[in-house]
């Protein structure tokens, strides 16, 4: 970026100091952070790893807890597929700063429950606790983010 003169001139600042795409760039276009050719003009045409911010292409997160949380069956009803209680511990909200192609996620948790009764002859002839881990987006724009992407099972 180069300014024609050092005097304060509104037109000059507007035309040269602000965003004004040109090749080679003559304005603060060079600060836009993009990977356009104009931004590395003068170099040998390559982009080095140090030119990118950490986490530009891939990011990892984790959320941990170490406390006891109790969920009682009295909080629930018989509709165990639709009426669930969200765990306060195994839940987190993360910010994804870019449009991702792949989002891998999972959880690990220590449970201790007391559903172990079997009653022969009944339709639902055994007790169980059920878990469903899901990811929800505040801005669902694609079908891939719907709640069907769930990890569901019964606690052993």
């Amino acid at each position: 970026m180069s300014l024609p003169s050092f005097s304060i001139d509104a037109d000059e600042i507007y035309n040269n100091g602000l965003y004004s795409p040109a090749n080679p760039p003559q304005s603060v276009e060079v600060l836009n952070g993009g990977l356009e050719q104009a931004n590395y003009a003068g170099a040998n045409g390559s982009i080095k790893p140090y030119m990118m911010d950490l986490g530009t292409f891939a990011r990892g997160y984790s959320a941990n807890f170490s406390r006891r949380e109790f969920v009682y069956a009295k909080q629930l009803d018989n509709n165990y597929e639709n009426h669930t209680v969200i765990s306060a511990s195994v839940a987190t909200r993360l910010f994804l700063p870019f449009r991702a192609r792949v989002l891998q996620f999972g959880f690990q948790c220590w449970f201790n429950h007391d559903a172990s009764s079997y009653t022969a002859g009944e339709t639902n002839d055994y007790d169980f606790w059920r878990y469903k881990f899901e990811v929800l987006s505040s801005t669902r724009t694609t079908a891939t983010e719907d709640a069907s992407k769930a990890l569901t099972g019964r606690l052993p």
Partner: protein, 51 residues
């Protein structure tokens, strides 16, 4: 795992718990819904995002 075009923004990861607890009349054992419980002790959620 989600794949495709995953929009940026806030993502909520959560574990839902539910139960099928039998409560036959007169039963007062540990699987009484008044007493049956699931205890969580410790854990981790991990996420990896690839652009």
């Amino acid at each position: 795992m989600l794949s495709g075009s995953i929009s940026p923004g806030y993502k909520d990861f959560k574990l839902n718990l539910s139960a099928n607890i039998i409560n036959p009349p007169g039963f007062t054992g540990s699987n009484d819904p008044e007493k049956a419980k699931c205890k969580l002790m410790s854990g981790t959620i991990w996420v990896f995002a690839l652009r």
